[in-house]
Symmetry: C2
Subunit: 214 residues, 2 copies
Amino acid sequence: MKLIGYFRSSAAYRVRIALNLKGIAVEHASRHLRKGEHRAPDYVALNPQKLVPALVLDSGEVLTQSLAILEYLEETHPEPPLLPRDPVGRARVRALALIPTADIHPIQNLRVMSYLREKFGQTEESAFAWSRHWIETGFDAYEASISTDRRTGAFSHGNAPTMADLCLVPQIFNAARFKVDMTKYPTIQRIHDVCMKHPAFDAARPARQPDAEP
Amino acid sequence: MKLIGYFRSSAAYRVRIALNLKGIAVEHASRHLRKGEHRAPDYVALNPQKLVPALVLDSGEVLTQSLAILEYLEETHPEPPLLPRDPVGRARVRALALIPTADIHPIQNLRVMSYLREKFGQTEESAFAWSRHWIETGFDAYEASISTDRRTGAFSHGNAPTMADLCLVPQIFNAARFKVDMTKYPTIQRIHDVCMKHPAFDAARPARQPDAEP
């Protein structure tokens, strides 16, 4: 399999962690989002959604959308599991995973920030304030969902990493870029610190990727 | 079970279709988003994410995030299936479902539109142009993903409704409010027309809900 990503893409980062946790070796390729390489015809032919990541299977089939890829990896490489066994627990993990994936990241990613600057004439500062606002709104929701729930353990759900943590950690990395005050989110920060001691999370960090830039 | 929604919420609309397709009878309750009823303390105690829908199980447990609820319904009420059986097909359906769910709707929902007007001082017209832009970007991706793929049938994947259609249809309803030109998306429009002839989709329409307003 080949993962086409970008070192700083939160969505690609989620998939890198999953591959590492499950011990699946893949070839890595990169599309430089700031240079627009995801809009090049050869990539659009692979992924008409013009987003990263894309996972190219050995059969040639192309999977897109990070959460769909995580579910695919879970179904085809079930160990170690990234979802609990009980349906209510699975629903909880998926709901947590969707907070960064649907409620935060899409509103403050590169293409949205570009629109704010180019079409609305917003300054860098006000575009940053926008990003911080949506990250904080989402982290408020995430923190409130885990801080007093007894199902929260060392990780967001229990004592092993799940899809929720895989989606949370890249958003925390992103939050640091926008200078979000993480002291407001002690449970999220605690889980982040546990995750980053895990080699699967550490190796997936943007700075450790071959296409990383300062 | 009780579904707490809002007639015009795309996310609640997705879940209503699934419940209808699977023949699951639930109690319906509404939180008026424009009146801020989703921020009332009694609702925040149920769903600290302050979003609709929420599905309250008979056990009292509360499920949130429409896609997580759809997966829960699929796992606990497998017939008729809303996902195909093969992992690659399941990944395709989930990826399609994520286009409206993650890439369109979160960027142009009520709270984001409010920010544009209140913080950036955008006019109604420029906020509408914003919404249209993100709907069209997402529909371009959806149309390109289904128009020539042989797995597309009467519905987005094959000849029965899947999670992809459940997420697509509410976004088309939303697109009409923002006057998106649907002639650019013939495959999406064709699937929409097929869906709306299905009683499960028809009964889930915003206008058919008890809390509907003109």
